[in-house]
Symmetry: C2
Amino acid sequence: MSLPLGFRYAATYAGIRKVQKNDLALIVSEAPASAAAVFTKNRVVAGPVTVARRNLRVSRGRMQAILANAGNANCATPTSESVAQQSVCVAGGTLGIAPHYVFPASTGVIGVELDPQKIVAALPGLKSALDPGSFDAAAAAILTTDTRSKTAFAQLRGGKVTVAGMAKGSGMIHPRMATTLAFVMTDAVVPPAVLRTALKQGIERSFNRISVDGDTSTNDTVAVFANGASKVTPAAKAFAEALAEVLASLAQQIVKDGEGAHKFVTIEVRGAASDLAAEKIARSIANSPLVKTAIAGSDPNWGRILSAAGNAGVAFNPLHTDIDMQGVPVCRGGFAADFSEDELKKKLDASECSIQFTLRGRGRGQTRFWTCDLTEEYIRINASYRT
Amino acid sequence: MSLPLGFRYAATYAGIRKVQKNDLALIVSEAPASAAAVFTKNRVVAGPVTVARRNLRVSRGRMQAILANAGNANCATPTSESVAQQSVCVAGGTLGIAPHYVFPASTGVIGVELDPQKIVAALPGLKSALDPGSFDAAAAAILTTDTRSKTAFAQLRGGKVTVAGMAKGSGMIHPRMATTLAFVMTDAVVPPAVLRTALKQGIERSFNRISVDGDTSTNDTVAVFANGASKVTPAAKAFAEALAEVLASLAQQIVKDGEGAHKFVTIEVRGAASDLAAEKIARSIANSPLVKTAIAGSDPNWGRILSAAGNAGVAFNPLHTDIDMQGVPVCRGGFAADFSEDELKKKLDASECSIQFTLRGRGRGQTRFWTCDLTEEYIRINASYRT
């Protein structure tokens, strides 16, 4: 898949994380790009999120560079915001652009000072390394407990326009309006207002429909840059669909790489009173540790699914509930369906599992939600993340 | 500790659970007792909960027997309510009391038919076995994945009045108004209305302040019986305190025996705008898998505590936040305090851990909440619960 025109990428090891693995990424557009972003809804917000939000406002939705580090969230320290501000100032100076055209992002441990000198010292080398082909290197440099890179691509207008996205995220994943870090670049000509709308729509069907562990991070950021280098202006709807496709792929890749996850679980809810009610039910199922451990153990324990749905804070009649796992009816009208437990257990050994939760009746609310199983590895990873 | 007068207990193996371990308990008061109970808030409600609630209403808060089984929740089956109804009818007949004086309760797997004949066949033997000293046998018969019995006692009026409680619960613990099964017997003279008020108050500071895994069960029930056999009428306030003491002890024992739990964690929140705001913050910290795994790993990762609080849906200023772990300041004004990580790690190896979350300012809202750590054992237990 070709990359969007007019973007260059670079990555380096700036010494921010202990392991010697690239931890600083720079993405630069040849000209100011239309930009839109969504951020965490956590009350505790990292400095780079504050600065990125302010820069987007000051620049009226134009942005030219992304500076992202892994290994330190630059959050909950006295210098959090000033370190982020200093980083964008020095990056702007190094690149010869206004500081408010630089979009900062950080991910990693919370509450530990980030030494700005590490970033300042790395910037000249990063600038020299900028290359249109280094997309994958940048995508790798923003990872933390991820076991693999997450990238996704789409094309429009017969290949004349390209959308390319990268994301990181494996734990502390329970985004409400955005998640973790994801950057999408496109060479389409798209005005900022159209970009904002397309991002908002796409997020609702991707990053806002996944959960690994029910924790929402302090640094969640999804940003999209459209630099117009293809000189092609796609139809707003076609562009929104291409963007949504890239975002959905990235979101699914995050769940598939969920900390300790062995299985990817798709939850579909239908027949609810509203889409919001469907979402609440799906979220409650997706966040139930008992459902997630049952999936890990290939246990067709549909009672836990029904019980988790009952905790969603949504009114429904259990006697009008049907549940299917892997396409096999396990619950009909709130009671056990007639199915072979042994056969279904074998089907649940697959790496992709599905849960369909259907309310009989006239409700038209529905949603699709993605999560993963909960395994002993999740505990091992998180009991020793810092140490 | 002596037991309350006028109660007899029995337990037997009725063949409801696969393992041959007592699974049916009967508790009988010599005369109808004042009774009060609180039940699950899950939308999916087990048949025995429906029947118990109706019996309490029909009998206007009088009750004479408890019939409780483990190994099957008698929930989400077509016969759920009729099996519960049949059980109380036959139990009433066997004991020579009205069916609506029998309080049914079930715990175990959801969605599997409970064969009423097993209970019917066991009742005559249970009746013959009734004995004032078999309290512990009854307490053991209601356990499922619990590794130990939970009992608690209090006395009033210089030992003239006794309050004795038993509970079960280890997983699917996240009560909102009640949890799991708990039965409290007292020989105090207490009118039903006073009993209801005392139970409601006591629950708020005990069963409504614990969480193991964020899942609320379909069968949660806490019931208290006061049969007046001591012929002593304690002051309402003194009785409420004794009851609250027993409930708090039972609730804490449930958390200490949380599935796979190695550590008991007390979370105190102070300085919030209201008690409800404090409770939301405490609940969010208690339910965060990242906080719970950090405690499992003795990792003083206070950033996860702050981030979890930020997700509570409560407005607060992170810069006015202080956090202590094991009495050691780890966060002051939203930033890292100066503490020895190695020393604190050693302190966190203790079996009891404390987290204090304090908002500076004039807020007087506070709460105390209990939870446990999240270990690999929780996963092992729940990935294979049924199989």
